[in-house]
Symmetry: C2
């Protein structure tokens, strides 16, 4: 069965080699107030400390560094609401490649500014009426540039999976047995990558994709026998988790590894962002707090062992953040 999946654990080990010395080994942290609130031991993988403020740098650097040096001049094109944008822009900058990013015109300002600061060119589109794929494909064809998907790509999935390898190592260093892992999920790249890593060593562990209600296409697809898209009229505070559909590759992996879906409301996400500020002292963007929200809302099924969860990103505009803190 494994040979039909987009990646194996070997791809993640190779990604870890490529990322060595380039990506941050982000901390895995435990907090008493979180353990008390959830009623179980919880370990937090803080990807806000990753370059560009989210896990997305992992997959982007893995993809771009695998491009042959002679093919780099034509550059890369990607579409993203902001975190993949920054990851691709920064990886391209480090590798000396031009990058063009297609971003929705309502992307958070901090993500737009940072993407520009990494030297990328930005092309904007309307999230609700235009097709980012079409715009990006046209640019890529004109320039002979490579499109870097944000999740449905073996290199991207393997790169994100390096966070899972780190969770395994760090939990062992902390002498904690992990029983379930909850991952913030948009298109499923981080979830399927982490699931592949964790299951390679802890086959009994349960993996959950935490998604915003209305954008819980991975969970609904996993409960169905086919890919189910999100309602185009759905809205969420989690700007980073609004993929229209799970990826073919990511969904196949998540299905194979028996990943479960947990849907969280915007209010649960807001509470989690506040909890992270007050008790964990970590900045979390709304989409980056979905897994924490699921844990705090008591939605993670009981299982032996600790919960490990991702705070997957922390790129949030101060005014949005302060509206959330104000309750």
């Amino acid at each position: 069965m494994t040979d039909r999946l987009a990646i194996s654990i070997e791809d993640i080990h190779q990604a870890a080699e490529r990322l060595k010395g380039h990506a941050v080994r982000t901390p895995l942290l435990e907090f008493k107030p979180l353990n008390s609130a959830v009623g179980r031991r919880v370990l937090v993988k803080f990807e806000g400390a990753q370059h560009t403020g989210s896990f997305k740098f992992r997959g982007a650097y893995n993809r771009l560094s695998a491009i042959a040096p002679e093919d780099r001049a034509a550059g890369v094109v990607a579409w993203s609401s902001g975190n993949h944008a920054q990851g691709v822009a920064h990886a391209a900058q480090l590798l000396g490649m031009p990058a063009t990013i297609v971003m929705p015109d309502d992307a958070p300002q901090i993500k737009v500014n940072n993407t520009l600061a990494y030297g990328a060119e930005i092309v904007t589109y309307d999230r609700y009426t235009e097709s980012r794929e079409e715009i990006a494909t046209a640019i890529a064809e004109k320039r002979g540039a490579l499109i870097v998907p944000s999740y449905n790509d073996p290199y991207i999935i393997a790169g994100q999976g390096t966070a899972g390898l780190e969770i395994l190592d760090q939990a062992e260093e902390m002498d904690v047995k992990v029983g379930s892992v909850v991952v913030c999920c948009g298109g499923g790249g981080l979830t399927s990558g982490i699931a592949t890593a964790i299951k390679s060593k802890l086959p009994e562990a349960m993996i959950y994709a935490a998604e915003p209600q209305g954008f819980d296409s991975t969970g609904r697809s996993l409960r169905s026998d086919h890919a189910v898209g999100n309602d185009p009229d759905a809205r969420s505070i989690c700007d980073a988790l609004q993929s229209p559909l799970p990826g073919e590759m990511t969904l196949a992996i998540n299905r194979h590894l028996d990943v479960g879906g947990l849907a969280v409301s915007d209010d649960e996400v807001r509470s989690a962002v506040r909890f992270s500020f007050e008790k964990l002292k970590l900045v979390a963007e709304p989409g980056g707090a979905a897994a924490l929200a699921a844990a705090l809302a008591g939605k993670v099924p009981d299982h032996d062992g600790a919960i490990a969860l991702t705070i997957s990103g922390a790129n949030v505009d101060p005014d949005v953040y302060c509206q959330i803190l104000a309750g």
Copy 2:
């Protein structure tokens, strides 16, 4: 000379043994945007991830756990604007001891609430007209309780010094040579403890106490031949760093180890809190950002090797935090 100082490196090693399994080994983190802004490599010791949200738990637990079990029932008394309060309250809670904390009536609400949540009793006083020492001493005498000083105490200094041992180990794990260490400084407990730890292994390293302007009594005392107090009319946004005078013990250690003083303005502190939010994704309270402020303001003298600095606490009310983020 060393035998006249309050502590030696052995005391810090003993503290580390007492704290093992009780305190958090907080992360030491490196961030590209910080390196770029400072123009040198910078490692951040994030004590916001310590129990109670500041380094103060280290010294408090070291002091209280050294009290003989038969002497614990009478409890402890401390005065503090909030971080030492929480540290003592939580350590007392863990050891089953009653704790009374004398706090200024303008202490941040988050610090008051947390101190209460750890089960301590709070007695308030006016920071500018009443003597917290007198109030606390009267309570301690009545109850036969032990006063736990916030910095001028060998156990407290040694406990805070464990953060310095961790910096040494973690920098070595990261293969980074530390040349200077900048520490947020109120009464000097953390500074003298970290200085003792760092200098034991890196005698060439320079240690700096970062203080708010107007409360830079440690820096001014070190440049003089006697202890110099702060102007009672001084005001600062750094509620945690407003000690009237350096401790005798802490000043003697800091003088012996050639510690330097760096004074930062409230505006520099505000910028540092914002930088920490935007680029490091770490919550820092104003006083906890003093060392970062000194580094960002270019006030750390040139020296071979990386700068290690503390974000020493992260207990800040959301409204104060958001006023700072709004600029």
